[in-house]
Subunit: 320 residues, 2 copies
């Protein structure tokens, strides 16, 4: 099943959001427009806007507010990716070259700043203090996650706890906030807001763990970048943490650096896959997914709830 099937009933709203995204990133500065448009067109699953729209289905609020929130969330996500790629010195994302790879770090820095500022002007349209507080806190956590990721690079003695905290900040909270912001913008009840936030948090944790697993088990074609990229960039993810329980393997993993050849890396990835690290990681992801499926039980039945179920299940099985 394709993911989009799960929420095909949102297609008109997604079109509106997509059009607004295209409109707001345009700038009188030609270069900025072209960089931003390229980013926008390079794909991305728009999973955050989808969660906002789904959250919005649990209330009766102003549709425009919901669309603004969806656009703002995607812009913040894009901005954080652009700055992330600077820190990771990443060359490729989603099969295309990163902004820093093509135009350098400075352009990437200000493109991120611009997208971020644009998100704020879109958000400012929503006259709801709770929405602003939630978004500000989320952005701050996102920054903290970015900083932790940089600090924890090549730190092979970190525990699973610090990994989980990092992906919470880097990924899960933005998805949690997407779900909740939809509900807030739709004036859904506080109980519904809370449930959606938790759902988003659990799904987000699972999503990032799967992402980190795929970095080892997916093909370069599926990933749009070379496999094992996280490890090469010094990002110590869950499969790595489990694999390092084997001391021999830990030594090899700690030896990875910029001079590691492609074939050495391929061998190392094979060794990691031969351990139970992938299986164990899947199992943790699965625990989060089960919590996500459980927490939404009290929500009123309907298309939106069905979609939340389907998305959570899809995430557990996704291949890219």
């Amino acid at each position: 099943m394709k993911l989009q099937m799960a929420y095909s009933f949102l297609h008109k709203e997604i079109e509106i959001v997509e059009a607004e995204l295209g409109r707001v990133v345009l700038s009188e500065q030609e270069m900025l427009s072209s960089v931003s448009l390229k980013l926008l067109q390079s794909g991305g699953k728009r999973i955050r806007p989808v969660f906002v729209l789904l959250g919005g289905r649990f209330g009766e609020g102003n549709q425009e507010n919901i669309h603004h929130a969806a656009v703002a969330l995607e812009l913040i996500h894009m901005a954080s990716l652009v700055h992330d790629d600077v820190i990771d010195e990443a060359d490729k994302r989603r099969g295309t070259e990163t902004v820093n790879a093509v135009w350098g770090n400075k352009v990437a820095m200000y493109t991120g700043d611009y997208l971020f500022a644009r998100a704020l002007t879109v958000m400012a349209e929503i006259e709801n203090p709770k929405a602003h507080t939630l978004l500000a806190e989320t952005i701050l956590e996102l920054c903290r996650g970015e900083i932790e990721q940089m600090k924890d690079k090549y730190n092979y003695d970190q525990g699973i706890k610090s990994y989980l905290r990092r992906i919470k900040r880097k990924t899960a909270l933005l998805i949690a906030s997407s779900c909740e912001l939809g509900a807030i913008s739709a004036n859904a009840s506080e109980e519904v807001q809370r449930i959606l936030y938790l759902y988003g948090y659990y799904v987000g944790m699972s999503y990032q763990i799967i992402d980190d697993i795929l970095d080892f088990i997916a093909t370069e074609e599926q990933l749009g970048k070379p496999a094992g990229g996280d490890l090469l960039q010094g990002n110590v993810t869950l499969p790595v943490l489990f694999a390092m329980e084997n001391k021999e393997l830990k030594k090899k993993i700690m030896g990875v650096n910029e001079y590691t050849t492609k074939s050495d890396m391929a061998n190392l990835i094979e060794s990691i896959k031969e351990t139970d690290s992938i299986e164990k990681s899947f199992s943790i992801s699965e625990q989060y997914l089960q919590r996500a499926l459980h927490v939404i039980k009290p929500l009123p039945n309907g298309q939106a709830k069905m979609a939340l179920y389907s998305i959570a299940k899809y995430i557990g099985k996704r291949k890219k």
Copy 2:
């Protein structure tokens, strides 16, 4: 006269703002805390918080809101300086080394991101939609100014109009917003808000022009960085635009690059000072100042209005 004398009656409020600034930049990440604290302690005139506080004197609003706005404005200003220094590859600011010079561009990028995010969480405390819209628009313009500055580097054929637009975005709008935000947070009348915005805009334009003049006529000691730094970094400012009306000089100015020696630079600065470029720049700054002094006439008399007068006059005469 010292600038601080003009608003000595604000000293208690300034202390509150200073203490909150110190508190909010603290982070559980030691490095981030130390970088932020160093930035905070490296001086800076806190002119934006002062304008917020003065704007706040024209209404009867919640004092906490006014303090939050003051803190947020200073954090945004600090964040923008940190990212600016990356783009300018600046080594020194206010006599101390820049974040990028000491810790590199990546740390500078995320320190700016963090300060910016922190500003948003402080701002989120203010439940006033107009305040959020104003701030979002100002931040967007600030980004645009930053980008324009980068784009216009080493562009010696730009006109005075594009210089004025750039400093409007880079400097004047943030000061205008500081004044207006104070008034908004204090629930001052719309007319007062508008007047304070205009005052801030005029004062901001004048302030930046003087800054650009001082880069030529002040000493290294006064500037806390070598004179002529703007020109070295390719920033084409008002005195340069006027000096280039002399074609001989234009040639020399266009020849400045990273290999220009200190003594060649000193000679060039002398040649620029021998033209009427400095005088002409002062005269444009003075025009803005006159407008600032004029626009606040309708404001109710009192300490705050007096302080606005004094600050505007001080800016016209400042030496560093």
